[in-house]
Amino acid sequence: MLRKEVIIENELGLHARPAAKLAETAKRYRAKIYLKKGSRKAEAHSILDVLALACTKGSVVEVIAEGEEAERALSEIVALLSSRGA
């Protein structure tokens, strides 16, 4: 199981469009990918659960990946979350 912390950079936070992009990306991997904020955890490909995490700009989020291609998945998702456009 791999973990990495990221800070959300998008002005509006992880809103509908970036959450959709995240879900689309996560779905391409067989690995299980989670986002964890504080004590709450959401599957990355559940857009509703991700939105409900309320990751506003500046939130610290832990990305967790396990299983096949976990390493590639983790780095792609981390890059996505820390980009301003996400």
Binding site: A16, A20, K21, E24, E43, S46, I47, L48, A52, A54
Partner: protein
């Protein structure tokens, strides 16, 4: 087959498939599944999800290419519908609680509503609206809404309630009947249904739960009954009844165009309440001797922009010319209260019935008022026009309104219009204070028109739109009868005519009393005219006057009702109630 009871507010019998109008109040029934039904229910849920996703993709295909964001909000919506948590939880509820998919979805939505409500971020919190909207779409698909009935086919409209905007969207030619969960005899649905001649039943408890889209409904707008999925036998019985109704109506209508004169030679003008230009041919056909109440709000409530003077004038001219040489009585804008104007930026009011509406609003918005008065006065050159002001509560308002009319007349004269006679000016008597000073008002107007709907509402302090107190709305309340008596007396002593244009005027049951009061004109929805005229011809004015004297001695609505009932029975006139 299931029979539901409500209040019949517009007579006639209709048979057709149900169309459930989404009003945000649509209720969902909980259906308990048998264990063997679970798999099928889950399949049904998935099919509805997929169909809704397909609809969204279709929408996306129609967006111009240059506007499509690589990952648009529609994609986010599609992902919400495919959301694994949402799907899993709904499936689990179906499996474990053995409930139908609609119910399960609603429960899952509630959970998300709870979670999102707690979110600190406004933007994210508002995303729940997207999910609510999407789940509504799925539920509609589940109920087969889009597959069975479209509004372009004949259908019975079923809704929690119908707002003026809802009814304006419906097509009169394909609307077979209205059925609503709430409402009363005087609610907007009732008025529109009557004016269009469409059967309607209101206050049918639980109808949005009991009826599924596409169910076959029989609507009896006289008996106030709705039959869901009737048997073949019942269908045939109703078709027979419909034919009978039509025959009876044809019989009544044969004499509709003749005047309404009592057996002892007392003539009463019977006029129509209209709202739309489209109602003109039917009103004439049914024997309207002109218009006693032209509701002029329609052009204001159905569109985004305020109507122009030209547009108003053009519509008014057609109405006035259509009824020429008979009178058309314009009620100036009666907006506010239970109606609303799209472009009038009105503040929200806690108590709209007592708020800024009708003549109060017009006096406060000179441009709005003058534009309408200009259009009415211009149209008056094409026929016989009267003008009346709604919600007059005192002399000051009446005088100011009349000043506006004078100013507009001067303006138009300067512009070269020649008025040989100016329209008669009347006051609507619908506020108790106006009744109390009716003798004073009568000195300054040419006629009175009693608006019973509001008068009863204000006199008895009953909100007729409130289902909990609507039953207390009672035209036969001794107070109401005394008020009517006072208005007619004040009017006649001043030598002016007194009309009645509320719903009460079109109810055959009250007719002997109304004739006995000495009202000069009764104005009603066109559908009621043949029956009212027919009964007037069988009444004796002197006897009706005696009936009023007797009624005024009684102390409760119940006693008065019994008196009128036995009066009808003694004369063998009860037959004339059933007029559909």
């Amino acid at each position: 087959m299931k029979r539901l009871k409500g209040i019949g507010v517009s007579p006639g019998v209709a048979i057709g498939p149900a169309y459930l109008l989404l009003t945000g109040h649509l209720k969902i029934t909980r259906r308990i599944l048998k264990p063997e039904e679970v798999t099928r229910e889950i399949r049904r849920f998935h099919r509805a999800l997929e169909a809704t996703i397909e609809d969204l993709k279709e929408v996306k295909r129609h967006i111009p290419e240059e506007m499509v964001h690589p990952l648009s909000i529609i994609d986010a919506h599609i992902l919400m519908l495919k959301d694994p948590s949402l799907v899993r939880e709904t499936e689990n509820l179906i499996k474990e609680s053995l409930v139908n998919a609609e119910w399960a979805l609603r429960k899952v939505l509630k959970k998300y509503q709870q979670i999102f409500k707690e979110l600190g971020d406004f933007y994210l919190r508002e995303r729940i609206r997207d999910l609510e909207h999407l789940i509504d779409k799925v539920i509609f698909t589940l109920q087969g809404q889009n597959n069975h009935v479209s509004l372009n086919q004949p259908a019975v409209i079923v809704a929690h309630d119908l707002s003026p905007a809802d009814t304006a969207r419906l097509r009169p030619d394909t609307t077979q009947a209205f059925v609503t969960e709430v409402g009363s005899r005087t609610s907007h649905t009732a008025i529109v249904a009557k004016s269009l001649g469409i059967p309607a039943v209101v206050a049918v408890k639980g109808v949005t739960e009991e009826v599924n889209p596409g169910d076959l409904l029989i609507v009896d707008g006289l008996a106030g009954e709705v039959i869901v999925n009737p048997t073949q036998e019942v269908i045939e019985e109703f078709l027979d009844r419909r034919l009978e109704c039509q025959e009876r109506r044809a019989l009544l209508t044969r004499h509709a165009k003749e005047p309404a004169v009592t057996l002892d030679g007392h003539r009463i003008a019977v006029r129509a309440n209209i709202e739309l230009l489209d109602e003109l041919p039917l009103a004439l056909e049914l024997g309207a001797e002109g218009v006693g109440l032209y509701r002029t709000e329609y052009l204001y409530v159905t569109r985004k922009a305020l109507p122009s003077e030209e547009e108003l004038f053009e519509t008014y001219r057609q109405v006035v010319e259509g009824f020429k040489p008979e009178i058309v009585t314009f009620r100036t804008l009666d907006i506010g209260g239970d109606k609303f104007a799209t472009k009038l930026d009105l503040p929200e009011e806690i108590n709209p019935a007592l708020g800024l509406r009708a003549i109060r609003l017009c006096l406060k918005s000179p441009t709005l008022f003058k534009t309408q008065l200009r259009a009415i006065l211009r149209a008056s050159l094409y026929g016989h026009v009267r003008i009346m002001f709604p919600m007059i509560s005192g002399l000051g308002e009446l005088r100011r309104a009349k000043t506006f009319v004078q100013e507009v007349v001067e303006e138009l004269r300067k512009e070269g219009l020649r008025f040989e006679t100016l329209p008669a000016i009347g006051a609507m008597i619908e506020i108790p204070s106006a009744v109390a000073i009716a003798d004073l008002l009568a000195q300054e107007v040419d006629f009175f028109s009693i608006g019973t709907n509001d008068l009863i509402q204000y006199a008895l302090a009953i909100d007729r739109g409130n289902e909990h107190v609507a039953h207390l709305y009672e035209p036969l309340h001794p107070a109401v009868l005394r008020l009517i008596k006072q208005i007619v007396t004040a009017g006649h002593e001043a030598g002016i005519e007194v009309a009645m244009c509320g719903e009460m005027a079109g109810e055959v049951f009250y007719l002997p009393l109304l004739v006995g009061f000495g009202l000069d004109e009764l104005s009603m929805n066109p559908q009621s005219i043949p029956a009212v005229k027919n009964l007037i011809r069988r009444l004796n004015f002197t006897e009706c006057q005696k009936l009023v004297e007797e009624a005024l001695k009684l102390s409760t609505p119940e006693e008065i009702r019994v008196l009128v009932l036995s009066w009808f029975e003694e004369r063998d006139l009860t037959l004339f109630w059933d007029y559909s």
